[in-house]
């Protein structure tokens, strides 16, 4: 037997969409997490309800790496239509659990096979006709538990946790898992190197959260009161989780009254329109969408910017122009979202890089929107949003809401009614507003997307237009210094730096370790907001070469960074791009970097 490989492997389950395999995958994930072992699951699913192939990758590393990897160590093959290709993906020396009926006559000889008669076991051992299809997937959990040595206690925990709200389902699922475990014990002896062993140090105090769950929690704690949305993958679950959370925490049990309004709109235009209407009337409001929805929201985004209405817009990015690949990830909307709408529009954009930041940025986005009276975009993506990520438990907010510059009746009395909606009193570009319903004769003003003067009156005056646009630029400058600053790590002392943002973060962390081990350590700056912080230019100035890593074809942030740099620094910035719809693996950063920056001999 070869040397054992402990807690360092990637399991890939190849199944059929709609067969209930996701529940089995999650039980396995939670069981291994329960052993104290870091887990990083990635769900690769089709834009389909039932029948197309789907894969679940569960990466397990003792270091807690959370990026996707191309390497498959243990394959669970359930899908006859992809079986041949799935088998090719396994590394030499890997283990293959497969449906016994699949032929492996012409297959590889460098892997270990564990054929299991899943269909026969399901027919003979699972009594319930209605649940057989779902529970058949649980049999594989038992086989994997046998193969890797997952303790029964951890399996039980995984099942209980997965069926938290359906305790009746626990026993039938455990029974099905037991079928697989028994089959393993009765029929196989282990000849592959992979084992799991309980460990400590990385998992304590951590939870498993999807980015969209985190965003919904952030919105909940950020005080959202009006949310309008239109279903679209991969963003729908943001609002669906918000509905679940507000049903639980914002509903008066006595009266049924809800301290939130969540509207499923007729399209994305109406969704953002409702959110802007609510923001104008003083509510903390949001919408959530993905690429095609962002396209539809363009006109309203310009109204929000120019009429200066607070609203939070989540864009959970998927890949592609037009419909693209609706269930695959990218960072391809960033350039578009930043200037969404015609005519010199520019927005505040938050770029969460972890699920913890999905929570924090979602929560704080409402403060930024009201403080700067403008749309705030939170750009997450499918990888961050729809996969489970290991994270420290989120922190309770210690700061009260920042409701921005809103004049109350008392303020207007004090000012003897003298105020102007778009007058820059404080010199920061941020003006004062009143809310509809303010009981003062001077409170009212006319909000419009057409040209307006300081008092919000219609004007086509050239100077008034230009002055107002300059003030809006000033406001953006104020925000630039207030939005989440980049996180900089220059401990490598290298003259080479990496810049990344969003979900690319996980791959960068791992790539830096690999690069350091290869003798090519690199510094790192993670951008967390647009407009870009001045620190980005300073980071470039301190390094000879800086590589901007991003998940889009055209290097959108690479371009934005160069636009902001003095000419002498522009050539220092290079670009590394990944855009095939799969979450970026570390190797997609370390390999091109080592090619450009060979390790000195």
């Amino acid at each position: 037997m070869t040397e054992q490989i402990i807690n360092d492997l990637t399991i890939q389950a190849a199944t059929v969409n709609g067969s209930g395999s996701q529940t089995a995958n999650l039980v396995l994930t939670r069981a291994i997490f329960r052993m104290g072992i870091p887990v990083a699951p990635k769900n690769v699913f089709p834009s389909n309800i039932e029948g197309l192939p789907t894969w679940y990758q569960l990466r397990i590393t003792p270091a807690g790496h959370m990026a996707r990897t191309d390497q498959v160590d243990v394959l669970v093959a359930f899908n006859p239509s992809t079986w041949r290709d799935d088998l090719k993906s396994v590394r030499a020396g890997g283990a293959v659990i497969h449906e016994e009926a699949f032929s492996n006559a012409d297959a590889r000889s460098d892997v270990t096979y564990y054929p299991v008669p899943f269909s026969k076991l399901a027919k003979s051992k699972i009594q319930s006709d209605t649940l057989r299809k779902q529970l058949a997937n649980m049999i594989y959990v038992g086989v994997v538990a046998g193969l890797l040595g997952i303790p029964w206690e951890a399996i039980e925990h995984g099942v209980r946790r997965q069926f938290l709200t359906k305790p009746k389902a626990v026993q039938v699922n455990l029974d099905a898992i037991k079928v697989g475990l028994d089959y393993w014990q009765d029929n196989f002896s282990k000849t592959d190197p992979y084992r799991l062993e309980p460990m400590t140090g990385l998992v304590e105090g951590k939870v498993l959260v999807e980015g969209n769950q985190a965003a919904a929690m952030g919105a909940l704690m950020g005080g959202v009161t009006v949310c309008a949305w239109y279903p679209i993958t991969p963003s729908s679950s943001v609002c669906e989780y918000l509905i679940a959370y507000t049903d639980r925490y914002r509903t008066d049990p006595a009266t049924g009254e809800k301290r939130v309004a969540i509207v499923q709109a007729e399209d994305e235009l109406a969704a953002v329109g409702m959110a802007i209407g609510a923001g104008w009337a003083g509510a903390r409001s949001m919408t959530s969408t993905s690429g095609p929805g962002i396209s539809l929201m363009a006109e309203f985004a310009g109204l929000g910017y120019y009429a200066e209405v607070p609203v939070v817009i989540f864009d959970i990015q998927r890949i592609g122009p037009s419909t693209g690949l609706p269930t695959r990830t990218s960072q391809g909307d960033i350039g578009f979202a930043y200037t969404l709408s015609h005519g010199d529009t520019k927005h505040l954009v938050l770029l969460p890089g972890t699920v913890e930041e999905c929570y924090e940025f979602a929560r704080d986005a409402f403060d930024y929107a009201e403080r700067f009276q403008t749309p705030v975009f939170v750009l997450s993506d499918l990888d961050l949003g729809m996969n489970l990520w290991m994270t420290p438990a989120f922190k309770y907010p210690e700061k009260p809401f920042d409701r921005g510059k809103v004049l109350s009746k008392a303020d207007l009395d004090r000012l003897s009614g003298q105020w102007a909606r778009y007058k820059d009193v404080d010199g920061d570009g941020v003006t004062y507003r009143t809310l509809p319903g303010t009981d003062h004769p001077s409170a009212g003003f006319f909000t419009r997307g057409s040209g307006h003067d300081e008092s919000a009156r219609y004007t086509e005056n050239a100077d008034a237009y230009a002055r107002n646009m300059d003030r809006l630029s000033r406001k953006l400058e104020t925000a630039r210094a207030v939005l989440p600053a980049p996180i900089v790590d220059e401990t490598s002392g290298s003259s080479v730096g990496l810049i990344a943002f969003g979900s690319t973060h996980a791959a960068v962390l791992e790539a830096r370790e690999a690069l350091a081990a290869a003798g090519r350590p690199v510094d790192y700056l993670r951008v967390r907001a647009l407009p870009l912080s001045a620190e980005v230019g300073e980071f470039v100035a301190r390094h000879e070469r800086v590589y901007v890593v991003e998940q889009n074809r055209d290097g959108q942030v690479f371009d934005l960074i160069r636009l902001d740099l003095p000419g002498a620094l522009v050539e220092r910035v290079k670009s590394i791009r990944h855009y095939n719809g799969q979450p970026i693996p570390a190797i997609a950063i370390s390999e091109p970097l080592l090619q450009s920056e060979p390790v000195p001999a």
Partner: protein, 340 residues
């Protein structure tokens, strides 16, 4: 000269707005005056009024009444979504939307229909002139088939009738009127405001510049010759007593949500404003006979408005603070622990 104050102590002038920039003689200006009269006589508190609009000549008009109220002139055809959001943020607001036939029946038809479907509590006035004024005279979707453009082009398409569309969708208040008929428009606006739900008033409002010629069915002369009112409309606000001095059987009295009454005095054939199919029939028969049927076509005071259906509290959502909206520390800890 003595100044008459309304029930909240305001003069009529308090309901005026900026000077109109529309053409002299525009029907919309008459509607603005009807609006001022209705709001003044109702004693609407200006600070509770939210004037909403989209884009077009009609959508400019909220600037021309109740200058001290908040207004929002948004994007083309999207007034309903802005209104929906604002209403949810603050149920205390009186939402008053002004739109046009292009804004409602073309670019905004989807939002118009979905607002009705939800029964958002608002008054929705369509200043309907059958033409695109600001872009200089193209046909709109409410132009009748066969009607003639100023430069001679003939409209070959079926009109979209906003009232028929609204009735089909189960709109809880549907009326039609004519900008020149203040006697009818003013009580209809008052009733629409008193009604809790989406109240549509399609007001034919001639465009003197682009659509007031022979061959137009939205011209002053055509409407004057063809208007057929189904009932004399009068409105008794909740703060006044109802005096019944009509012969029995000649008047239908509908009590609205706030205790106001709309009284409909029979003119020709008796029309029951609570009969939706009858309303459709009246529209269809009027169209076949070449008439413009005006008056309160339909009202349903039993339907819940959207905010009520959604259990939104009376206290404005915009006023809720950290204690109302955030989880307690204990709940947060419990919630977080469920992700372990």
């Amino acid at each position: 000269m003595s100044v008459t104050l309304n029930r909240i102590g305001l003069q009529r002038d308090a309901y005026k707005g900026a000077a109109t920039t529309l053409c002299a003689g525009c029907g919309h200006n008459s509607i603005t005056n009807h609006m001022i009269k209705a709001l003044y006589e109702l004693g609407v508190e200006p600070h509770r009024l939210a004037k909403m609009s989209g884009i077009g000549c009609s959508s400019k008009t909220p600037a021309y009444f109740v200058e001290t109220a908040h207004g929002f002139n948004g994007v083309h055809g999207r007034m309903p979504s802005l209104t929906t959001g604002a209403q949810l943020a603050n149920r205390q607001l009186i939402m008053l939307g002004v739109s046009g036939d292009g804004d409602t029946a073309s670019i905004g038809l989807g939002q118009f229909m979905h607002m009705i479907r939800r029964n958002i509590d608002c008054t929705y006035i369509i200043e309907d002139n059958g033409t695109y004024g600001l872009t200089k005279g193209q046909f709109s979707a409410t132009a009748d088939i066969g009607s003639v453009q100023k430069k001679g082009a003939v409209n070959t398409f079926q009109p979209i009738d906003p009232c028929a569309v609204a009735l089909t969708l189960g709109c809880s208040f549907v009326a039609r009127s004519f900008s020149g008929d203040g006697k009818q428009v003013v009580p209809l606006i008052k009733a629409a405001i008193a009604h809790r739900g989406t109240a549509i008033i399609d007001i034919v409002s001639p465009c003197v510049t682009f659509n007031d010629h022979d061959g137009s069915t939205k011209s002053y002369s055509w409407v004057k010759d063809h208007e057929e009112s189904i009932a004399d409309v009068s409105f008794v606000p909740f703060f006044e007593e109802v005096h019944v001095d009509y012969e029995p059987g000649t008047v239908r009295d509908v009590e609205l949500h706030d205790g106001s009454h709309i009284m409909l005095k029979k003119l020709g054939e008796d029309h029951d404003p609570k009969d939706r199919r009858a309303a459709m029939r009246v529209i269809e028969e009027g169209r076949a006979a070449g008439h413009l049927v005006t008056g309160l076509l339909y009202v349903d005071t039993t339907m819940e408005d959207f905010a009520s259906t959604e259990h939104i509290p009376d206290r404005p959502l915009k006023d809720l603070g950290e204690d109302d909206l955030r989880l307690s520390r204990e709940d947060f800890e419990t919630f977080m622990s469920e992700f372990a």
